[in-house]
Amino acid sequence: MTALKARKSNREVADTLEGLADLVVKAAKKGEDPKIEIPVRALSNVEFNQRKRIIEMGDNTTERTFFNLGMAKKFMQTLLVADALKVLQQDDISSSLREIYYRTKHTIAESSENTFDDQNESDPIIEDLEVTLTLLREELHVRAAEAGSIVGPVTLVEGGDVIDCSRQGKAGKTVPSIVEPGEVDIKKCSADFVLLIEKGTQFNRLSEDKFWRKHNCVLLTGNGQPPRGVRRLARRLHDEHRLPILVLVDNDPWGYYIYSVVKQGSINLAFESQRMAIPTAQFIGLSSFDPDKHDLPRNVGIKLSDNDRRRAKELLNYPWFQKKEWQREIKNMLDSDLKYELDALANKDFRYLTTDYLPRKLKEKDWLD
């Protein structure tokens, strides 16, 4: 499945979902246990493709059967979610993960048991269906939270509206969760690169300072781990306008992981890497060497927690962090036993990020691949 592949029609998606019911009916007729083969979404079933430099899903699958006490409920939940998803196709509407949870939640007859106790039960089932039926979330009409913003010299067309992202005020334009061609088109882009920022605070700082104008770039943020819409939009800016992607995150294991997800794709959604990952994305900071380079006092650091140290050691073992520079980077953080937030740069000056840190980084091309 590639970005170029035509999206499946509502009819096709509905038929695919209906296939699950056929599978149950067929098994029931023969007196057999109905089975759904679901690809495994875990570190054990992802491979780092060295040539493409993205994370790809392996071939391992797990059987979800009905007549197994440990799985019976999940099996039932899978069918309930499939049913709800089919309604979205029939009515040609989109919905959110949370709405699907509420839609499928009810009390099972003659008991006080709920079909779902909380959303953590229904979300993974939607992901299961995506990978099992090889349907995209957009094709399933499921929207993620719209938790991203864009600002800069880009003009988008969304639902017939032409939006100039350089004229959207300080807060910028919200990035919708579905940014596939047709829903969102990039009409014009004159920027030189994209700066993808972990946190809203720094995005606001740079937007307010009109950093993008001076350095001719697009600012994007996902407020934490970027949602699919933001990752997909960055990928399209990269693909369609040849823009390099620079990633600015906190200096902690979580920041490193955000960068790696943008670059290689995530373990959980490895099947989406083809459409989402940007293997040429660069890590601009914060580097564990930056506090020294920029004379940040030690007291604005935060001691690593046990969890941080454990996570950092896991990162050291990921195949996509095996480059010498990256091993050095992560080990340096572990040695200092400190992590730094982007916000800590304010210790020097409120506008240090805009006036000193980023210009120096860009000038020295001080980033990691």
Partner: protein, 589 residues
Amino acid sequence: MAAKQREISVSEFFAKNRHLLGFDNPRKALLTTVKEAVDNALDACEEAGILPELTVKIEVAAIDGQPATTPAQADRFIVTVTDNGPGIPRKNIGNVFGKLLFGSKFHRLRMSRGQQGIGISAAAMYGQLTTGKPTRVVSRVKGQSKAHTMEFSIDTKKNQPVVHDCEDIVWDRSHGTQVSIELSGKYLKGKLSVDEYLELTAVANPHAQVTYIAPDGSTRVYPRGIEQLPHPPREIKPHPLGIELGMLLKMAHDTKSHWLSGFLAGDFSRVSANLAQQVCEKAELSPKMRPRDCVGQDAEKLYRAIQQTRFMNPPTDCLSPIGEEAIKNGLFKSIKADFYVATTRPPAVYRGNPFVIEAAIAFGKGDGGASLSENAEAQDEEVQAKAEGEEDEKETEQARVIRFANRVPLLYQQTACATYKATLATTWKNYGLKQSRGSLPEGPMTIFVHMASVWVPFTSEAKEAIAEYDEIIKEIKLALQECGRKLGIWVRKRQHAKSEYERRNAFQRYIAEVAEACGRLKGGKLDVERLRKQLARTAEEITGGDDTDRLLNLKKDDDEQELADAIIRTPDGSIQGDVSQLARQAVGA
């Protein structure tokens, strides 16, 4: 002179140290008074071979002609306990109730409820000290035409009753005794209350019928569960094992025997002439030695020789254990549960005193184990749909330990008691129960422990907790393990049945959902009912219908033998095991 000094000090000692005897606060004083009167009444009936019928009445006392207040507010009560015992001859009444340490219980080695003969007179004295009112006794000796009544108070200096009023009256009982004491007290329900005490008395004394008229006027009858009186205990001589050196010296000095061997054989139980010879040989002492001369080194040699000799356990007819059947019936009629098992240990000895430990377990909520299975909630009339974050309330209820010494319930100082410590020290996890470190096992269960002995070692004169002798702890643990093992078999069978039941139920619940979802997915082009039936048939095949039924009903299999002597309430409400007709009637089964 010495005797007189002791007499005076006993009454005065009490007046100043009443907490030692269980009169520390008004609530406990009321309980202790009832307890002493009930113990006395039961002992009197049993010694006379009469099936006890007791009436316990607690009334709010009017003070200075003021109308009585509510039981909760009142601070003065009249406790009246009436029995159908043999009655007390007029000349003894004053001494029985009005003189501390009167009676023969203190000096004999024989099992009885009261051990020190201090109880009922202490209650009378407490009443007198707090209200100034005399104690009133009515008693009719069997065969006499009239009952005599007597009112008296106690001269604390002389330890003597002072009789105020004495007359003969017509009484509707053919024999029996009634004692009324007015005292300062506090009446509260619940734990450690008179109510709990009487409930437990009924459990451990299923041969007695107790009628309780509470301060609020309500009447509760604890009916009889069995009709057999406990066999009357016999008085015994001390057992040689465990007796201390000082005691040995004292006995040797006081004995009427002229020879050492005669002393050993005559003054101890379970010492034959032959064994006495052996002991003397081991001690390298002449069997013809005068016991009085056996002092110093010789006495120590004798003591060691005794410790190294094997004796038969002390005779046990001095003890009157309640018995497994009676305990089970007692529990069955009083405590609602699904599984009852009891065990009576063989007699053992601590410090030369024979004792018997009995333990029992009542487990379950009395619904045949339905509460163990998921569908219990479905049986409730209306189940509210659960919102996010709401969970089933899972109670982690801890076991209740009910403790008895010579058939008398022990309420206070549970944690100081050997029974409690032995319960904690038992590994209940082995029997399929949950148990956190240092706490009681979890589950809807009552653990019953009874110690019967000629001399129960209490930690205080208030007789609230049994002292921790190693031999006693060991016996209690063995008894609990025996019950626990049987409980474990039952619990595991239950759990197995429950998980099978849940399995099948889970599939049944989900089948409807799956079939309907398939129906909707197929947009009405599907026979949902047929799909449901097909799936249900497969479920039946996979979860093995008959096996589950068998397990749920606990039908015959290998464990049957082990559980043969337990009382089991099955899920369909029927009762398996030996339950007396009376106990069945008591619970209306």
